[in-house]
């Protein structure tokens, strides 16, 4: 596809997506679409780090902060989500910097980075559970229904409104992805993921570049959590935070394809449709089946198709680009500690 054809195609696709809820109004299908868009945004946020070998299992923590800070400020302080969401994003960003700076400064990479971030999402989950007097613990938490202005409270009963909000947020995620993909940071981070010492020697500020991408990724994940909370109006520690959510992000991003902008979106479509189909097909018997299929797929994908569905498809369509993308086969690789 030429550059011009590409712009026309994405413009037409976008117009179709915006027009969709005005033509097609089935509330259940719109609900699924909203969920797909919100989770796509979260998965896209994760893959911004993941594609450069910064595999984080702490994103469940950032998402939990986004959801809980927003809801707590609304219920306890009466602050509108318009204030709460930016505050929650700042909080997640600050946490990312506090944990990220020493991690990158002291060269914590590979297994060690994964496990430090795992501890981070563990902490957030336990804090939410432990402060059950405020957060409702593992029983979950519901933001109070707004009595007055719906817009101020960011609570809408209308699925179309939510669809458009989710679409906008998702689009922001894709645009940020492309901005990074086009920018200098991408080259710096790719160099870092191949060999940190060599990148540093070539004049890349390793710590600053990694911090930048971590900050962007964490802040966006917090936004996803806040939007999810506002849409569902019910959150529990297990659905928005913790290790299971973190693994789910990794899984969807890998299945869809880490290295292409729409990969995480494809991952979200596949995982959510799979879960819904199983839920409808098997009813209450389906408890657990979706994760069983996820798990088997995840293992198979990592063994046989590490670039994901979309990534592999695109490669097949464009064999001439294969050479320039060859490094991505191992771009998930991280410098081993001590190597």
């Amino acid at each position: 596809m030429t550059g011009r054809g590409r712009v026309v195609a994405s413009g037409a696709g976008l117009a179709a997506l915006v027009a969709l809820p005005f033509v097609y109004r089935d509330p259940y299908h719109l609900h699924i679409l909203v969920l797909i868009l919100i989770w796509s945004f979260a998965y896209t946020s994760w893959s911004m780090m993941g594609r450069f070998g910064l595999v984080s299992l702490g994103h469940g923590g950032f998402m939990g902060i986004g959801a809980y800070v927003t809801a707590l400020m609304w219920n306890h302080l009466g602050l509108s989500p318009w204030v709460g969401i930016p505050v929650s994003m700042v909080a997640a960003g600050a946490l990312a910097l506090i944990v990220g700076y020493p991690c990158f400064r002291f060269r914590i990479t590979g297994h060690y980075f994964v496990l430090v971030t795992l501890a981070l999402s563990g902490i957030v989950l336990q804090v939410i559970t432990a402060t059950r007097d405020y957060t409702g613990g593992s029983l979950g938490y519901t933001p109070n229904r707004a009595s007055g202005n719906k817009l101020l409270a960011l609570q809408f009963d209308d699925k179309t409104t939510w669809y458009l909000i989710a679409l906008g947020v998702w689009l922001v995620g894709i645009v940020v992805w492309h901005l990074i993909d086009r920018g200098m940071s991408r080259y710096a981070l790719e160099a870092i993921s191949e060999d940190e010492d060599a990148a540093a020697a070539a004049g890349v500020n390793v710590t600053a570049e990694k911090l930048k991408i971590t900050l962007i990724s964490a802040v966006m994940t917090a936004l996803a959590g806040a939007i999810y909370c506002q849409y569902q109006m019910f959150i529990t520690p297990d659905t928005v935070s913790g290790i299971a959510v973190s693994l789910q992000m990794v899984f969807a991003a890998i299945v869809g394809g880490l290295f292409v902008s729409l990969g995480p979106t494809v991952g979200a479509v596949i995982t959510i449709l799979l879960a819904e189909t199983l839920r409808i097909g098997f009813g209450t018997n389906a408890v657990g089946w979706d994760n069983l299929v996820y798990g088997v797929l995840l293992v198979l994908f990592i063994i046989f198709l590490p670039k994901g569905i979309l990534g592999s498809l695109l490669d097949r369509l464009k064999p001439q680009r294969k050479v320039s993308r060859a490094h991505e086969q191992k771009a998930v690789q991280i410098a081993r500690p001590g190597a």
Partner: protein
Amino acid sequence: MQAFLDIFDIYLLEAVINGILLGGVLALLALGLNLIFGVIDVTWICYAELVMIGMYAMYFLVQYYGISYFIAAPLTILLVAILGALLHYLVIAPLLAAPPVNQLLATGGVLFVLQSFATVAFGIDFRNLGIRLPVLALGDMNFSYARLLSFLAALVGMVAVYLFMTRTFTGTAIRAISQDRQIMALMGVDTKRIYLITSAIGGGLAGLAACLLVLQYDVHPFVGLSFGPITFLICVLGGLGNFIGGFIAAFVFAEIISLGGLFSDLEWGYVLAFAFFIVMMFIRPAGLLARRR
């Protein structure tokens, strides 16, 4: 003795000793994971889920088939050992040349599989063995026999592994491979076989831990999440692959959880332990006992 006890707050002492007992089981869990990491250079994210399967095996053997605990235990250990070898053969072996993070994520997929397999097969009910061991009262302090037994069994298990690693040919080969995995193949050691054996031993240790944990905790499909993360953190804190470091770290962690739980909720004990872990990672990134470079 009484005068000695009076110096300390009795509850503090009880918490400290309970921490030591908890540390024994954590050390056993960490030992299995460390063994796998040290030899094969892979982190089994799903390690705690193997323990969970083992706990279900114990539950069904003892409760459903009415087999005595002491006969069921070796069967369970054998079963989980086979599972460990299978995990290596089916998932890890094809990925040995892949980047380490891919191996880690593949075992993350196995975590999903095992967890949801348990949900599908056994439902989400909490089940327990129904064996209630008496409580040992020492002065004003209470300790459960289950914990004491676990602690002792964990110690015995660890000594057995130590003897196996130092006194047998296979054990020596395992240790040699962990030092240099390329050269050992040239020295006539079948690395594939050694990897399988190591995975089976790691699985067996998970099985032993399952036999002990089932005495203290109810089993449900998500029980792995309650001690899985803490096990990884212990291994990393001790230095992945470093057996002695893992052993010490297990007791440090257990004390933090136990003492944190004494002053506040148990969750805050975990929060403290996690926070301690993150701080320690910055002070000693390669583990407690790592030599400074």
